[in-house]
Each structure stands twice: as structure tokens, then as C-alpha cells.
């Protein structure tokens, strides 16, 4: 369907009219018979069709629901598309699958928080340090002990989140939690409080599919974010601009859509917040807040933090910025203009519902276009957890996983800077690609039986085909299969290697192939 541009005038409207007319006529004709006095036939063709109506027809086009499309959706949204999962999705249909993926089912009780957090030990150690005299040797030692305890707690937190990423019954929600972690990038390296990182993680999980404005407001009061971007202690006498700037540049609008004056005004709106040393939580102190008149993006008023967030999130630019980023994350490339506009509309008309935007992404025909499939590079966490899911393996010892992720450039809770992680090809360098290949063999020991039940008796050709499709559902090709068979024969297959050996050799081939990085 040709995109309809703005301000195209009658000519374009006429062209689209001729394309869309049959459908409308067909649906209207029944209606027309019933209420002919309202819709005389000659008037339908005489009136230019309003733009909105034409796009309604476009919206009705749904992607056809094939196993390939189902696998593509599952790989992108949940990092895994095992045959059973694909079959279930195909049987249920796109709508029901999306409903399931976007559900709000709580799963906290499946993943109890590590004891170091529930026991309040860290807060206790912090109080101890705060109680000792400054510059004293005792304080330095207690501080070092606290630092070690925080780092150990962070490692437990990383393991806990990896377990959630692996096993959550709501995988898309976990994927979005990671997305928001990269978007509202906050690093333990500066924050130094493992429990604050946990609270922020829960915030992304609880609010990440809801209204964007609610998410942004909650993030502005999140202790980890407040520490990371120096919101804490910002007072009306000395407003700190760090958060205000990143809020506009990185979190809501993007560079070039606000002025320095806007940054200064917004900074005033975020004054008065303080982190309580005892609890680590944020508290608002009215006396330190700048209650005065402010003008933000042309809107005047006695804006406080909430008002400020509302103004920013209602900007049309915010809709484009956020929906564009979400699309790029799942699609791996830029969207065409009509899709972008549909996503923006979805965002604006639902008050910024991320769930609605995701639904629009995953029901957009462009998402399923051939040019998009199998062309997105997996990030390190997706690569690691996705492979565990594919092989139905449990998470590895936390230290092995976190050191692998560090080598590959994506350490949970430690994005490199406030801009988060650069995705796509930026994940790949000589070093990281060699590391992915090496780690694939070191980390993953699949159970052959569960991986390929019934394949043991199959001829090599069929084995290569089925294993390949299982491991690379969206970018397996006959060329790849031939390479696999060639590698197998060169490795001396047929010289006494049993079928188990053959399956393992094929699996190793696919796992270490450069194209395994694609999804």
C-alpha cells in the first residue's frame, strides 16, 4: 500500500481513493442498503476521502501468521523459538500470542531476592561506616569492607537477574527491563549501592510496559538514578543540571530538541530531592525546592518534577524518539515513515502506553518483511541467555556468566556511560567475535538427547538441516547447511564417530559460525 504523505492534496487522495475504494464500497454497500438515505452512492465517490480514513484501511492489514513469522517474533521478543514454542504460537494466532507476551502476570515469587538484600545487611554496614569519625583508620577499613560487600551483593544481583531473564514466564517483560536499563543507563560503578540497583531493576520491571510518563517520573525519583546523575542534594541555591540535561537529551527528546535555557529551567524543577542516608530512599524537602515560575519548552508555570515530566512526555518529539528507539531495538534497523507514524500515533493516543507500542510493532507488516529477518545482531546478554534457552540449559555459575558478559561488552548494572550500550554492529569487533566463538564452546554443553530427539538415526543431511533450523530459526539457509556438511566431512566424520559425535560437531559448527550472531 503506497504511503500517503501529508499535504498531498486531492491528487494523492484520489489515487488512494481508487486503491481503497473497493474495500470501502464492499463494506459500505451492505450498510448502504440498510441506510440508503445516509449514504447515497454518488456522494461516496464525490467526496475526497479524509487521510485518517485511508490509514484505517492500512491499519487493517495484518501480517499473515506463518511458522516463519511466529519464529521471527519469538526470537526477537523472547530470544528463543524452540519448535514447541513456535507451534504453540502458530496454533494460538498472533493476537493471542501477543496477549500472552504482553501479560502483566506477576512472577516475583518465582524469583526471591537474594538474602543479602532482604536481610538489610548492607544498610546496616552503611550506618556503621557513617557512625565512625571521618579520616579515621577504622572508618577506612569499615568502608573497604562495605565496598567488598556491595560488590559481592551486586554479583548476586546479576545472577538473580540472569535467572529471571532465563526463566521468567513473561520473557518480553524481562527483555524490556533490559531495554530500559540501557535507556535509563545507571551504573553501579558510580552508584555503589547494590540494593539501589535492585530497586531500579524492579522499577523497570513493574512500570516498563505501562505509561512512559509514569516510568520517567518514577525514574526521576529512583535512588540509583539520583545518585548517578547527581539529583540528590540539588537545591534551589545550586541546582544541578546533570539530570535535567540527560532527561531531555537521552531519556525523552534527543539532542537538538530543547535549549540550554530549558535545561536550566528543568534543573530548577528537580531541586529539593535528597537521599536519606539511613534508608537510601529519596525524600522531598520543600524548603530546598525552587517553587518559582519556570518556562519549559514554551510552557510557563510553577513546574515541579511531575509537571516537567508531563510537558516533556507530551511533546510529539517524545513519541517519535521513544517509539523509534523501541522499533530499532527489535527490528535492528530504521522503520519506514508510515510505520513510524503509526507507532507515534499509538503512543500519543494511549497516553504513552509501551504495551500498545509493542503491540503495534509486533503487528506491523514491516516487522515481518523479508529485508528485516535474520539481520539483527544479538547483544551479549541475548546471545548468552538465548543460547541457554535454545538448549534448555539452566544458568551457569554467576561468575562465569558475568565474566563472559564483561568480555563481550555488556555487564549488567554497569553500562559504559549514561548513553547506555551502542547496539547492532557495535557489539562486534575482532576481539568480541573471537570471544563469542571461544565462549560458545566453553560455556554451552548441550544435552544431545534433548536437543535433537529422534535425530540420532537421521542421515547427516537431515541432521544438519534440523539442527541448523533449531539453532538459527530465522537465518538458516541451504548454503549454511552445505558448509556444515563440508566441515563435518573435513573433520573426519565417518571414521568411527558416532551419531552423538556428529550432532555435537554440527552443533559446534553452528554455534561458532559468524552468522550465529544474527537473529
Amino acid at each position: 500500500m503506497k504511503p500517503v504523505g501529508p499535504g498531498d492534496g486531492k491528487g494523492q487522495a484520489a489515487a488512494s481513493r481508487s486503491m481503497s475504494q473497493p474495500a470501502r464500497c464492499a463494506s459500505r454497500s451492505a450498510h448502504h442498503q440498510a441506510e440508503s438515505k445516509n449514504f447515497p452512492p454518488d456522494q461516496i465517490s464525490a467526496k475526497p476521502i479524509p487521510l485518517a480514513d485511508v490509514e484505517i484501511v492500512v491499519k487493517e492489514a495484518r501480517p499473515t501468521w506463518t511458522p516463519e513469522n511466529a519464529a521471527h517474533l519469538l526470537m526477537r521478543a523472547t530470544w528463543s523459538a524452540r519448535p514447541g514454542e513456535v507451534k504453540r504460537a502458530v496454533d494460538e494466532g498472533l493476537e493471542a500470542t501477543l496477549g500472552r507476551l504482553l501479560s502483566d502476570e506477576a512472577d516475583d515469587d518465582l524469583f526471591p531476592e537474594p538474602e543479602v538484600f532482604t536481610s538489610g545487611r548492607l544498610a546496616e554496614m552503611r550506618r556503621e561506616v557513617a557512625g565512625l569519625p571521618r579520616e579515621s583508620a577504622g572508618r577506612m577499613q569499615a568502608s573497604q569492607r562495605l565496598g567488598r560487600a556491595e560488590r559481592l551483593a551486586l554479583r548476586e544481583l546479576q545472577g538473580w537477574w540472569l535467572a529471571r531473564l532465563r526463566f521468567s514466564p513473561c520473557p518480553l517483560r524481562e527483555v524490556m527491563t533490559l531495554f530500559w536499563h540501557g535507556h535509563f543507563a545507571t551504573s553501579f560503578v558510580k552508584v555503589r549501592m547494590a540494593d539501589a540497583m535492585l530497586w531500579q531493576n524492579q522499577l523497570f520491571r513493574d512500570l516498563g510496559l505501562g505509561r512512559f510518563e509514569d516510568l520517567v517520573l518514577a525514574v526521576s525519583r529512583d535512588p540509583a538514578m539520583m545518585r548517578y546523575l547527581d539529583v540528590t542534594g540539588s537545591s534551589r541555591r545550586q541546582p544541578n543540571e546533570n539530570f535535567a540535561r540527560e532527561l531531555m537529551e537521552l531519556f525523552t527528546l534527543g539532542e537538538g530538541h530543547y535549549s540550554e535555557a530549558d535545561v536550566r529551567e528543568a534543573a530548577r524543577a528537580f531541586t529539593g530531592w535528597r537521599l536519606e542516608p539511613a534508608t537510601g530512599r529519596a525524600r522531598f524537602i520543600p524548603a530546598r525546592h525552587d517553587h518559582g515560575e519556570k518556562t519549559l519548552l514554551g510552557v510557563a508555570g510553577r513546574h515541579d518534577a511531575a509537571a516537567c515530566v508531563k510537558i516533556l512526555c507530551s511533546q510529539p518529539r517524545c513519541a517519535r524518539f521513544i517509539t523509534g528507539k523501541i522499533w530499532r531495538h527489535f527490528a535492528g534497523m530504521e522503520a519506514q515513515e508510515p510505520t513510524l507514524r503509526r507507532l507515534e500515533r499509538e503512543f500519543s493516543s494511549t497516553g504513552g502506553s509501551i504495551r500498545a507500542v509493542l503491540r503495534a510493532v509486533f503487528t506491523s507488516p514491516e516487522f515481518y518483511s523479508p529485508g528485516l529477518r535474520g539481520r539483527r545482531i544479538k547483544g551479549p546478554v541475548e546471545w548468552l541467555v538465548g543460547t541457554l534457552k535454545l538448549f534448555d540449559l539452566p544458568p551457569l555459575p554467576t561468575l562465569r556468566m558475568t565474566s563472559a558478559l564483561r568480555e563481550l561488552g555488556q555487564e549488567l548494572f554497569a553500562p559504559p556511560n549514561v548513553k547506555g550500550w551502542e547496539e547492532g554492529r557495535a557489539w562486534i569487533s575482532a576481539t568480541t567475535l573471537l570471544a563469542r566463538e571461544r565462549l560458545a564452546l566453553e560455556l554451552f554443553r548441550p544435552d544431545v538427547e534433548r536437543l535433537a530427539p529422534g535425530l540420532r538415526e537421521a542421515p547427516a543431511d537431515q541432521m544438519a538441516e534440523e539442527l541448523g533450523k533449531c539453532l538459527m530459526p530465522c537465518n538458516f539457509s541451504p548454503a549454511l547447511k552445505n558448509q556444515a556438511l563440508a566441515a563435518l566431512s573435513e573433520a573426519g566424520d565417518g571414521q568411527g564417530g558416532g551419531s552423538t559425535e556428529r550432532i555435537l560437531a554440527l552443533t559446534r559448527f553452528f554455534l561458532t559460525h559468524p552468522e550465529y550472531q544474527l537473529t
Partner: protein, 424 residues
């Protein structure tokens, strides 16, 4: 003799000749194969005829105390600010009648006398940041104190100037690529020792070569894609990086196995890392920038002993490196610069150490260096909240290295104009 290299080359050639006559071997594969072959020939440690300049960046991580490295021994303010930590005039290795080196830097003193060492004084930047991470990022990305840059300055140099080359332009002896090397196109490789580059069992060069030649049109696609990496399809991009990575890894491993230094390097980690760099330089790798790091300089407490040990390690490793490069007749091609995320406070603290500061001197070493003093010594009585005020912006040092050494335009790479100094 390393026969597998010949086998692969013959294999690839024969496949091409045996196959469609219209195929030509893409230049990058050809170049790298030639390089592999030349490395495989019996050679001693003489330079292989490559003559491009090489930059070695040595990071002193933690914040090196510049005042006790380049000591203003004649200034009373120095001694008054550091009753315990100040180095006695009698111990300092005097370079002139105002300043001298820490006593542990005897080797560097020798290099200074030989005219192979330059010191740039008072290097820093406006609005100094005293956080390790933030300040290191600022140095690595050549950003202002208030902006966050995604890419490193050397990465931007690679993007601007090393596009045509398909092998790694940067080599870091470290567990992961430093931010300085990060560019839009990732053209660097990082490893702690050559064994880290061992490739996967069933991967290996044979499989990739096989794939390249068996992939039919993919050779042409790979060859054509050279010019326009942006439009390259993801699968081709991955295959190209994989091939590059393997060829670089193979070449690195073969070179490091083949070339032995004639000088004995100290057994410290820095010594081993610089020895590895010297072997890679001897092997004629096309890499232009090397990166090594020495940690431990964050001397908040009990500085005297720690700092002496670190400087002694630094001194021994740099001196051995210089001697080895001289023996290889490569000393004129190599420029080594040190950097640290900040210096330290002028006044000592209550724990026998110093806290995070700002400006500090840095060293530049090499056969082509214009030796001696550069920049201006920062004033000890005009401090900024207890810290030295910089007299040279570190980006001037980068601009000098880019323009006068690497021959690259500094303004687009550093996103600003910084005056070029004359230490090289």
C-alpha cells in the same frame, strides 16, 4: 617452517584457479596472505621493510602523582606542602636547577641524556573531573569535561584514516578494548597474551577459508563490500570481521612465536606487555597504535613505597623497550606516550598519601622525539582548590601525535582545534 600457511595459500589459489576464471582474490585477503607468507619466511629480528609510524599509548591507571615524578625540588612550596612525602633534593635525579626525576627513574634519566625523552608539563583540561571513571573517559574520548562521547579518540582516528585496511589497526594488550580504541568501525583487537587468540576448535582458518571460497559469490561480495562498510549486509559484515579476526590472530600468533627480543625485559606485567609489543613491532604487523596499561597509581595512603615501586617498574620496562627497539632499528618509527587520568593534590593527606588532583606531566619517548622540556611547569602557589592548574590541554598532546606523528588531521578527530606542540 610453518607449512600450514603455505598450504592455505596454495589451497585458496588453487580453488580460485580451478573455479570460475572470472574470480579475483579480493585484495584484502591477498594482502593478508602475503603478510602471512612473509612472516613465515625465515627472518631474524630485522625490520621487515614496513615503515609506517607506530604509536604506543601507556596508561598509568589510578592517577599518577606528577609532583613526585617530575619533582620541583627547588621550590619551597613543594616541601612545605608535603612534609613527609616530599623527595629530598639530594635524592632527586636533577635535570636542571628547578626540577628532576624521582630517584627510581634512573633509566629514564639516561634516555633524557640520550635525547630520546620529552616531558610535557602541566597537562590537564578545564573543569577537571576527579572521578577515576569519568576522567579516564575524558582522556580516552578527548571530550570536554561536560560532554559524554561514545567513541575514543584513537577509534575516531581509525575511522578517519584506516578505512582501506582490513586488518586490525590497533592492538591492545589488555582483557578488553580500551574506550580510546572504540570507533564506529571496530578496528582493534585486544588480548593479554597471544594464547587468548586461540580460535574455536572447529572454526579455524581452514573452515573460514573454505567458506569464503565455497560461498561462491560471497568472495566477490566481500571484495566489493570493502569500499562501503556501511551498506554491507550483516552476514557479510560478520564474515569479514571473522576472517579479519582469524587472519590477525594467526598472524599475531605466528609473529610472536617467531620473534624474540635481544634485550631482557623485566619480569613485571608491564615488562611482559611491552616485550610483547616489541615482538609485534619486529614482526612487521600493520597495526598503527598499541595500548598497554600499568595500574596501581591511586596512592591515597602510604604512597612513598608504592609509588617508588611503580616508577621503578615503569622505568625498567620503558628502558628495556627503548633498547630493544634500538636493537631492532625500529626506535625511530615508534613513539610512546604516557597518560594518567589526573595527577594528585599538592598537599599530602593524613594517611601518608595524596588524593585525586588535576594537572600532571606526561612522558613522550622515541627515536624521533624532540627531547627536553615542553609546556610550562604549573605554578605551585596559584592552585585551584588545592590542585595544580593545567598549562597544556591534553588534546594538544593528541593533536601533536595525530598531525606530526601519524599524519592525520586532528581537528575532525578531536572535534576541535588544539594547538600542536613540538615534541615530535
Amino acid at each position: 617452517m610453518n607449512t600450514p600457511l603455505f598450504t592455505r595459500r596454495r589451497f585458496l589459489r588453487s580453488t580460485v584457479l580451478g573455479g570460475a576464471a572470472a574470480w579475483t582474490l579480493p585484495a584484502f585477503v591477498d594482502n593478508t596472505l602475503l603478510a602471512l607468507e612473509s612472516a613465515a619466511r625465515e627472518m631474524d629480528n630485522a625490520p621487515t621493510g614496513r615503515d609506517h609510524p607506530i604509536l604506543v599509548i601507556l596508561q598509568l591507571a589510578g592517577g599518577n602523582d606528577g609532583l613526585n615524578t617530575l619533582v620541583p625540588y627547588a621550590d619551597d612550596l613543594y616541601h612545605r606542602a608535603r612534609p613527609r612525602l616530599a623527595l629530598a633534593e639530594a635524592k632527586v635525579l636533577k635535570l636542571d636547577d628547578t626540577a628532576g626525576f624521582h630517584p627510581a627513574l634512573g633509566g629514564l634519566r639516561g634516555l633524557w641524556d640520550e635525547g630520546a625523552l620529552a616531558v610535557v608539563q602541566g597537562v590537564g583540561y578545564p573543569n577537571p573531573n576527579r572521578s577515576h571513571f569519568r576522567s579516564t573517559d575524558i582522556w580516552q574520548t578527548a571530550s570536554d569535561a561536560s560532554t559524554v562521547e561514545r567513541h575514543g579518540w584513537v577509534g575516531r582516528y581509525f575511522d578517519a584514516c584506516c578505512q582501506g585496511e582490513d586488518s586490525t589497526a590497533g592492538i591492545a594488550i589488555s582483557p578488553s578494548e580500551p574506550l580510546a580504541f572504540l570507533g564506529k568501525n571496530r578496528k582493534a583487537i585486544a588480548f593479554r597474551q597471544p594464547a587468548d587468540l586461540r580460535t574455536a576448535e572447529t572454526g579455524g582458518e581452514e573452515a573460514v577459508m573454505e567458506e569464503v571460497s565455497a560461498g561462491g559469490s560471497s568472495i566477490e561480495a566481500l571484495g566489493e563490500a570493502r569500499g562501503s562498510h556501511e551498506e554491507e549486509a550483516p552476514a557479510d559484515f560478520l564474515r569479514r570481521v571473522a576472517l579479519d579476526a582469524r587472519l590477525s590472530a594467526g598472524r599475531i600468533q605466528s609473529v610472536t612465536a617467531r620473534f624474540r627480543p635481544s634485550v631482557t625485559f623485566p619480569p613485571s606485567r608491564l615488562g611482559r606487555d611491552l616485550e610483547l609489543v616489541s615482538r609485534l613491532v619486529a614482526g612487521g604487523l600493520p597495526a598503527r597504535v598499541y595500548y598497554v596499561s600499568q595500574g596501581g597509581y591511586d596512592t591515597h595512603a602510604a604512597q612513598a613505597g608504592t609509588h617508588e615501586r611503580l616508577l621503578a617498574e615503569l622505568d625498567a620496562a620503558l628502558t628495556a623497550f627503548a633498547h630493544e627497539l634500538r636493537a631492532q632499528r625500529n626506535f625511530d618509527r615508534v613513539l610512546l606516550m604516557t597518560f594518567s587520568e589526573f595527577g594528585r593534590r599538592v598537599a599530602e593527606n593524613a594517611n601518608g598519601g595524596t588524593d585525586h588532583g588535576a594537572a600532571a606531566p606526561l612522558f613522550v619517548m622515541g627515536g624521533a622525539v624532540r627531547p627536553g622540556w615542553h609546556g610550562k611547569a604549573p605554578s605551585l602557589d596559584n592552585l585551584d582548590r588545592g590542585d595544580l592548574v593545567h598549562t597544556t590541554d591534553f588534546r594538544s598532546v593528541y593533536a601533536t601525535v595525530l598531525e606530526s606523528w601519524l599524519g592525520a588531521p586532528s581537528e575532525p578527530i578531536l572535534k576541535g582545534r588544539f594547538p600542536v606542540l613540538d615534541f615530535v
